[in-house]
Symmetry: C2
Subunit: 180 residues, 2 copies
């Protein structure tokens, strides 16, 4: 977790809390947002990858508890601590839309996070907004993940980071910003 104190034109200083700041996306988001902004961002969460024919319910629950419930928990808790008009940005990924081999858990979890964002946007109090960013495979991750994304066009993490800025500093809520 990285906390970035920033200055603003208002009376009080603001903070951006980035959960997952040590990851590839997280680092790019921190670099992008060091230029200003406010609010809560999550770029973290583990999924289960493995062949469907060998998958168990316990395997599947890994992603439910981590990338899904972990991010939902951040939002449920965050709504009580964010300033009026604050922003929550969660992270999904292209596998939510485009299944890949061994990725059934990832497709389900990413779809669930996007569903949560769509619904939570209708109920969050005090003008708090919530969005998700869904990047495709990152250029920086191609050496590890490339074989799982045959023919997918990667994007640099810095491009994904722009979508986080768009979510944090824009006016929309309940949106999924797709990158790639």
């Amino acid at each position: 977790m990285g906390a970035i104190p920033t200055e603003s034109a208002k009376e009080h200083s603001m903070k951006i809390v980035v959960i997952g700041a040590s990851g590839t996306v997280g680092r790019a988001v921190v670099a992008e947002l060091e230029q200003g902004g406010a609010h809560q961002i999550s770029t973290t969460g583990n999924l289960f990858f493995g062949p469907l024919t060998q998958m168990t319910a316990a395997d599947f629950n890994v992603g439910l508890q981590d990338k899904l419930l972990g991010q939902v928990r951040l939002a449920l808790v965050g709504q009580h601590y964010l300033s009026d008009g604050g922003s929550i940005t969660l992270t999904t990924g292209i596998v939510g839309q485009e299944p890949i081999a061994q990725g059934a858990n990832a497709t389900a979890v990413n779809s669930a996070v996007e569903g949560f964002v769509r619904a939570a946007a209708c109920e969050l109090p005090r003008g708090i907004r919530i969005n998700a960013v869904s990047p495709t495979v990152l250029t920086e991750s191609m050496d590890v993940f490339g074989p799982f994304f045959p023919g997918f066009e990667p994007v640099p993490a810095a491009r994904a980071a722009l979508a986080y800025r768009r979510s944090v500093e824009g006016v929309q809520s309940g949106r999924v910003y797709r990158v790639g």
Copy 2:
């Protein structure tokens, strides 16, 4: 759970296993499919309903463990027992697409089930197919659920049941049949 032994033109008799056969949709599905068919259907699963501002991660986990992981478990286990070319049909609901008050868990869970279906269809062995049926609010449930669905046009359970037949006896996989 209701097991409906049926006869077929093939050498062996076939069964339709309906998980949730005592529910409103389940009863209609049983009535519809008593006319023939084969394969595994789930029309069951509990969700958590409550205001987002009071929701906890434990509340949210109710739907993850029940309607989501419960149905995923049926599919993960079922793939090992179904005949070649067998069919799995899971149940989501309109709230996956259209958020309602107190329904953040329902939107997320239904979206996850649909994501799972989309991905699992790409990996299921031996020609086994998987689809989901997503009904809107049912005419038969309007006395209980109507207030949560203002302006939604209900459909009779018998119409939803047609979609299950379409899933079971059709040729598609990875589809979500929306009713209403």
